[in-house]
């Protein structure tokens, strides 16, 4: 397969088309607008629908409608726009509708800025909107992985009838890397016989997002949490990189994981043995492997482009067994290999 040099945002867009995305509803916001631009050109060529909505709120409810009609649907945005979509994401989870949502996150809070950041981690993995629900969250680290996880996102959304967030950042969206489009052969999916398409001779169907009877709603919540339990058992993905028997376990995802790989390599030249655990699925979170590797290493160092968010999940996984240190840069700043390595050496006394 041919390698193509592509910008992350363009690559996600092309992968969505190849994954069979039928409709895309967008709204411009930096640093992800190229997704809309690319799809406005390409979707009509494929006989698919590109549509620019009047707001992020409208676009998520267009996604809701098209997903209810049984189609593969995507929307994309960044920080502030994703906040506006949160109500709709809660409705998607409640109506058990599959949809893919891309967040090329930027510095926050507020309008923040347009520099890369990981400060939407809590919002993505802890639900984000109101009510008891979970969204599958994938954290790509390279443009190639953006492509691969876009294929996976559409598959998982349909498999579990649940929204899936691809949590990138402005760096991944804007950088160019060589990519190969190699659509995996996923196992067959059940027919969408629940879709709202008009009766056409069958009994009528409807999609609800409420249950006024508290017993009924609790029953429903128990049902979707059983689904989340299955997701936690079957869909955890992660990468382990670096040395056997490390003196310290590094944990980082996405853009930060790229930096941490350089840290692992440079540390090796200095005679310091490090290993990196990179979560690929942020929900479900790879807690068991983190717990195991943390105990082997005796010490954990979590690095993020925020004020400390995933570190809470790392601490829950480690459960006090070993010390967990944190280093974060926020507001669009990116941790450097040198600064990170200096902190590691300070902790290890080397």
């Amino acid at each position: 397969m041919k390698k193509i040099l592509m910008k992350g945002n363009d690559a996600v867009a092309e992968a969505a088309i190849q994954a069979g995305c039928d409709l895309y509803f967008g709204y411009p916001i930096t640093p992800q607008t190229e997704i809309s631009e690319y799809l406005s050109l390409r979707m009509p060529e494929e006989g698919k629908v590109f549509f620019q909505a009047e707001s992020e709120i409208a676009s998520i409810y267009m996604v809701y409608g098209a997903a209810a009609a049984g189609k593969r649907v995507m929307t994309s945005s960044s920080g502030p726009g994703i906040s506006l979509k949160q109500e709709g994401i809660s409705y998607l989870a409640s109506a058990e509708l599959p949809a893919v949502i891309v967040n090329m996150s930027r510095g926050g809070p507020g309008l923040g800025n347009i520099q890369p950041s990981q400060s939407d981690y809590f919002q993505a993995v802890k639900g984000g909107g109101h009510g008891d629900y979970k969204v599958i969250v994938l954290g790509p680290s390279t443009v190639q992985e953006l492509v691969d996880l876009t294929y996976l996102a559409f598959y998982l959304a349909d498999k579990y009838r649940n929204p899936v967030i691809i949590l990138g950042d402005g760096m991944l969206g804007q950088m160019m890397e060589p990519v190969v489009f190699n659509k995996p052969d996923f196992p067959p999916l059940p027919a969408k016989d629940w879709a709202i398409t008009g009766k056409d001779g069958r009994e009528r169907q409807y999609i609800l997002c409420f249950d006024l009877d508290p017993r009924g709603l609790e029953q429903f919540n128990n049902k979707i949490f059983k689904k989340y339990q299955k997701i936690e058992q079957e869909e955890i993905r992660y990468e382990v990189f670096g040395e056997d028997k490390p003196e310290m376990l590094l944990v980082g995802y996405g853009t930060v994981a790229r930096i941490l790989k350089s840290v692992v390599r440079e540390a090796k030249d200095l005679g310091i043995r490090l290993a990196l655990l990179r979560p690929i699925t942020l929900y479900p979170f790879p807690s068991a492997i983190i717990q195991k590797l943390a105990q082997q290493a005796g010490r954990v160092f979590d690095v993020e482009m925020n004020m400390g968010q995933m570190v809470e999940d790392v601490k829950l996984a480690v459960n006090g067994a070993v010390p967990v240190h944190f280093y974060g840069r926020s507001g669009g700043m990116i941790p450097s290999v040198e600064d990170t390595l200096k902190r590691i050496r300070d902790i290890l006394g080397k």
């Binding site: 009047e54 809701y64 098209a66 398409t197 008009g198 169907q205």
Partner: protein, 251 residues
């Protein structure tokens, strides 16, 4: 024996949940009659709102997607773009369509989205217990305008139909009431023309249906009808507000 009146096929045989004197049941029955007459039940998809209107999915025998407060026009757009051959309608109250959902309905009309919106205007938030809506008329007392709606505090009643008529994309806009048999007949014709407008692909259509809310207006059903005729209709005049060239006749 000749049958002169029966339940429309599309109206599910069960009691309405609405308060005595409310016009939701009547409006939904008219929509059911029109769906039967146009023989479109098999290809029609309804989109629900939040508020008293929400119960429509229990009453009409067509496919439904229930959604968020005010967002039915966006959801309907998603469905229509996914399934362009289907008949898609939203059914919304004034708290839903004329307050939180204003942006979605305005842009639906501006785009000329081929959907039909049915808008029950009772000049109040019904389900939450009678609060002031953008459609509440001046001096009307509600639980959040206990001294009556004052223009200097809360502005003017919202005439959504007239506003949407300005949009180039809207093809058919009408305002009707259900207080008399001849008005009910006209209302049904308007609902039919809205669906026909959509079927002909002419653009956006909306029928605003003025309805009494006896419970929240604190009036007996008959007096609520009289109050609507005397106070609401002069502010919200009845009739076809916009009929684009080519909109088919209802008869």
């Amino acid at each position: 024996m000749q049958t002169v009146f029966e339940r429309p096929k599309t109206l599910i045989n069960q009691p309405f949940r609405y308060c005595p004197g409310c016009n939701h049941g009547l409006a939904q029955r008219l929509i059911a009659e029109v769906i039967d007459e146009l023989d479109i039940a098999d290809k029609t998809i309804g989109v629900g709102p939040v508020g008293c209107s929400v119960y429509i999915y229990e009453c009409l025998d067509v496919d439904f997607v229930m959604g968020a407060h005010g967002r039915a026009p966006a959801t309907a757009t998603g469905i229509k773009r996914a399934l362009p051959g289907r008949m898609v309608f939203s059914y919304q109250g004034d708290g839903d369509i004329a307050a939180i959902g204003t942006a979605e309905i305005v842009h639906c009309a501006v785009r000329g989205e081929c959907i039909s919106a049915f808008f029950i205007n009772n000049a109040t938030f019904g389900m939450t217990g009678g609060q002031m809506a953008p459609t509440t008329i001046l001096d009307q007392r509600t639980t959040t305008s206990p001294r009556g709606r004052k223009q200097d505090e809360a502005g003017f009643p919202f005439k959504l139909g007239e506003m949407l008529a300005v949009a180039e994309g809207s093809a058919y806009i009408a305002r009707v009431a259900l207080t008399k048999p001849q008005l009910i007949k006209k209302a049904k014709q308007a609902i039919k023309r809205a669906f026909l407008t959509q079927q002909a692909g002419l653009g956006f259509s909306l029928v605003e249906i003025l309805s009494p809310c006896p419970t929240n207006w604190a009036l007996p059903p008959l007096e609520a009808v009289q109050w609507l005729e005397k106070n609401i209709i002069p502010i919200y005049p009845l009739g076809e507000i916009k009929v684009k060239e080519g909109v088919p006749d209802a008869r």
